[in-house]
C-alpha cells in the first residue's frame, strides 16, 4: 500500500512537472513532436531522484558508521556527486538519446526493411509468454551477462580502457562513484546495450521498483563501507572494492586479468573464473585507484576529467598506431 502510494505520488509529480514546465516550453519552441519523449525524460529524472535519495538515506549512514577508508578531505567525492546528478537526473542520458537514437533507428529500420524484426525473449522462448515477472527476470539475467562481458572488454581493449580507466582512477570510492564515467565510455556502453536490444529486445517496463533496486545495488557496491555482506548471490561493497583495488591495478597487473567484473550477479565471475576473494595477507578492504595513473585521480572537476579522458584515449591510439592489435588480436591475447 505504501509503495503503491509512493509510486502514485511519483506519477503525479511527473505529470505536474511535465504539464507545468516542460510541455509549455516544447509547445513554444515547436517541439511537440517530442512530447512523449519529454514526458518519459521527466519520469526518468524523477525515478533518478528517488534512486539518489534512497541511496543516500540507506548507504550514507553505513559509510559514516563503518567506513572502509577515512580521508582528511573529500573534494574528490564532490566531483563524483556531480557525475551522479548529471547521469541519474537525465542530462547525460538525454544527450546520448539525442545523439544515438537517430543512428539506432536508422540501423533498426534498415534491418526491418530487410526482414529482420528484433525478437523478444517471449518469442524466442514461448514458455515465458504469460509470465511477465519470469520474463523480466530472464532479461535481468541475460542483460547482466551482457554487462559482465561489456565490462571485461572495457578492461581488455586498450582503447576502451583508456576511457574506462577514469571510472577506476579515483582514490575515494563512495556511493556516488557508480556514475563516474567518461562520456565516450557512456556512448560505448549505450551502443553495447542497443546492440543487445536488437538481438533480444528490451525488458518489460512494468517493474520500475525492481529497476530502482538494481541501481541501489550499483550504489551499494561502490560504497565506502566496511561490511562483508554480499558477494554470494549479489554483488556487495567488499566484492566490488576488490575489483577497484589499487593492488590489482599495480604492476605487474594485467588489466585483462582483473577480477570481480560482475555488475549484479557474482555467478558470472565464478563461471568465467574471474572471481577473487581477499587473500589472507592482504587488507580486507584495500585502497582503490589505478597505480599507473596519477592524473585525474588527484584532481577534481567534471570537465577536467573529461578532457583527461580524451588525452588518454589520444595517447593510447597514438601508441597503437601501426601496430593494429585490434579486437580479435586482443581477444586472442586474452
Amino acid at each position: 500500500m505504501l509503495i503503491d502510494t509512493a509510486l502514485r505520488l511519483v506519477e503525479q509529480a511527473q505529470g505536474a512537472l511535465f504539464e507545468g514546465w516542460i510541455e509549455p516550453v516544447l509547445y513554444k519552441f515547436e517541439l511537440m513532436a517530442w512530447a512523449e519523449d519529454g514526458f518519459d525524460a521527466v519520469g526518468f529524472a524523477l525515478f533518478g531522484a528517488v534512486e539518489i535519495a534512497l541511496a543516500y538515506l540507506l548507504f550514507r549512514p553505513l559509510e559514516l558508521w563503518r567506513p572502509a577508508e577515512s580521508w582528511p578531505e573529500r573534494r574528490a567525492v564532490w566531483t563524483d556527486i556531480v557525475y551522479t546528478m548529471v547521469h541519474r537526473l537525465g542530462v547525460v542520458p538525454a544527450v546520448l538519446f539525442l545523439v544515438l537514437t537517430p543512428i539506432g533507428a536508422t540501423i533498426d529500420g534498415y534491418l526491418r526493411f530487410h526482414g529482420y524484426i528484433p525478437p523478444t525473449l517471449e518469442q524466442l522462448a514461448p514458455a515465458l509468454r504469460g509470465w511477465p515477472f519470469a520474463t523480466f527476470l530472464a532479461y535481468v539475467v541475460l542483460l547482466d551477462l551482457g554487462e559482465y562481458w561489456r565490462h571485461r572488454l572495457q578492461h581488455l581493449l586498450p582503447w576502451w580502457w583508456a576511457v574506462h580507466s577514469l571510472h577506476h582512477d579515483q582514490r575515494q570510492m563512495t556511493l556516488w562513484s557508480d556514475d563516474r564515467n567518461h562520456l565516450l565510455d557512456d556512448v560505448l556502453v549505450a551502443v553495447w546495450r542497443g546492440t543487445l536490444a536488437l538481438a533480444i529486445g528490451v525488458a518489460p517496463a512494468e517493474y520500475p521498483l525492481v529497476m530502482i533496486a538494481f541501481r541501489l545495488i550499483d550504489s551499494l557496491a561502490h560504497s565506502n563501507v566496511r561490511l562483508r555482506f554480499g558477494g554470494a548471490l549479489v554483488v556487495g561493497p567488499q566484492y566490488h572494492r576488490l575489483h577497484h583495488a589499487l593492488a590489482h591495478a599495480a604492476p605487474p597487473f594485467d588489466r585483462a586479468r582483473g577480477c570481480n567484473f560482475a555488475a549484479v550477479l557474482p555467478l558470472w565471475d565464478v563461471l568465467f573464473r574471474t572471481r577473487r576473494r581477499v587473500a589472507a595477507d592482504q587488507p580486507a578492504f584495500p585502497p582503490t585507484g589505478v597505480a599507473g595513473l596519477a592524473g585525474a585521480a588527484v584532481r577534481c572537476g567534471y570537465l577536467r576529467h573529461q578532457v583527461d579522458g580524451f588525452r588518454r584515449l589520444g595517447a593510447e591510439l597514438a601508441r597503437l598506431g601501426g601496430r593494429r592489435p585490434g579486437f580479435i588480436a586482443a581477444l586472442l591475447r586474452e
Binding site: 504539464e19 510541455e23 513532436a33 514526458f39 518489460p204
Partner: protein
C-alpha cells in the same frame, strides 16, 4: 501495487469477460487496465506486452486490436470474453487503422519513419514505405483507396494510394500535425498539435480549405456515431473542444486536464471517455452537461481506449 502484484503471478493473460467495461492501454508500464463502467473503478490491471499504444476494433466490431510498438505485434482481444484470440507479428506498430471496406490495414512506425500497408484480411505485408519523418495518425478516404498520414517531424500530411503504395501528394499543414479524421464529404481534418487549431484539407490536391481554432496542442478527433458532434482533444490546453460537426463551429469546451489524447463514447452514447497521458488517469465526462463524472486512476501514460 496490489494490481501490479496480481499481474506478477498471473499464469496467462485472461481478462475478465468484457461486459460493461472499458479497456485502456498504459503505454509506459506495458499494461492493460479494465475499468468497470458502472462504478468507474479500475478492477484489474494486467501486463500485456511492450509499449501498447493505440487500440482499435476490427471491421466486424467483435475484436479489439492492441498495437504493441515495442513488442512488434498486434494482440487481438475478443470483445466479449476478454481472451486473446490471436497475435500477429508486425514491425513496430504505433498507430493502426483499417480502411472503411476492411481491405487494407495500415500500421505506422513513428520511431522508424515507416508506413506498412497490409492486406486487411490476411495481414500479409503488401507495401512498406519510407515516410520521413515521424508518421503518426491515419485517416482513410471513404472509397478506401487512399490513406492520409500525418508526418509530425516535417509538419506534413501525405496521401498514399493504397493499391500501389505510392504517395499521391504531400503538403505542409502546420506544426507537428497529429490526428486525422476524414469527413463524410471527403474533407480531411488534421489536428495541428504545435498550434491551437485543426485544418480542413481538400483531398484532391491537398490544399488547406478551412482552419478552426480549438485549443493549444490540438491532438485528436472523435466523431459521434450520429455524425452531429465532433470532439477535439487539446493536449497542452488540457481541454476537449465540442463542435457542431456539420458546420465545424466550436459550441463548447470541456475541462480535461492531464494531456487528453484518445477518446471513446460509452455504449449508450451518454459519456465521453478520454485518456489523460500525463496524469495516469481516464476522464469520464457527461456529454449532456459537460460535467466530469469520474477521474479513474490507471497505469502510466494511458493511450488507447475502448468502451464496451
Amino acid at each position: 501495487m496490489r494490481l501490479v502484484a496480481v499481474g506478477l503471478f498471473t499464469a496467462a493473460l485472461v481478462l475478465p469477460a468484457l461486459g460493461k467495461q472499458a479497456i485502456v492501454l498504459n503505454s509506459d508500464d506495458d499494461s492493460l487496465s479494465v475499468i468497470d463502467t458502472a462504478s468507474y473503478r479500475e478492477i484489474s490491471r494486467f501486463y500485456i506486452g511492450r509499449q501498447p499504444h493505440h487500440l482499435i476494433a476490427t471491421p466486424d466490431g467483435k475484436r479489439l486490436i492492441a498495437a504493441m510498438a515495442g513488442g512488434n505485434e498486434l494482440i487481438f482481444l475478443d470483445r466479449d470474453s476478454g481472451s486473446i484470440t490471436d497475435r500477429r507479428e508486425v514491425s513496430d506498430p504505433y498507430q493502426i487503422g483499417f480502411s472503411p471496406d476492411g481491405r487494407w490495414f495500415v500500421a505506422n512506425s513513428l520511431r522508424l519513419d515507416r508506413i506498412d500497408i497490409y492486406d486487411g484480411r490476411s495481414f500479409e505485408l503488401v507495401h512498406r514505405l519510407s515516410a520521413p519523418t515521424m508518421p503518426s495518425h491515419i485517416g482513410f478516404s471513404p472509397d478506401s483507396e487512399t490513406a492520409y498520414v500525418t508526418l509530425q517531424g516535417t509538419d506534413q500530411l501525405t496521401a498514399i494510394d493504397l493499391a500501389s503504395g505510392t504517395p499521391k501528394w504531400t503538403v505542409r499543414v502546420g506544426r507537428q500535425p497529429a490526428g486525422v479524421l476524414v469527413c463524410p464529404s471527403g474533407m480531411i481534418l488534421v489536428a495541428i498539435m504545435g498550434s491551437d487549431k485543426f485544418v480542413g484539407v481538400d483531398p484532391a490536391e491537398g490544399n488547406i480549405v478551412r482552419s478552426v481554432h480549438t485549443g493549444r496542442g490540438a491532438h485528436n478527433f472523435l466523431l459521434s456515431p450520429d455524425g452531429q458532434t465532433l470532439y477535439v482533444s487539446n493536449r497542452v490546453a488540457g481541454t476537449i473542444s465540442v463542435l457542431d460537426a456539420e458546420r465545424l463551429v466550436v459550441i463548447g469546451t470541456l475541462a480535461a486536464p492531464g494531456g487528453p489524447d484518445d477518446m471513446a463514447l460509452s455504449a449508450d452514447g451518454s459519456e465521453l471517455w478520454a485518456t489523460g497521458r500525463w496524469r495516469a488517469s481516464v476522464d469520464v465526462i457527461d456529454r449532456a452537461t459537460g460535467a466530469l463524472k469520474a477521474k479513474v486512476p490507471v497505469g502510466r501514460s494511458p493511450h488507447g481506449i475502448a468502451v464496451n
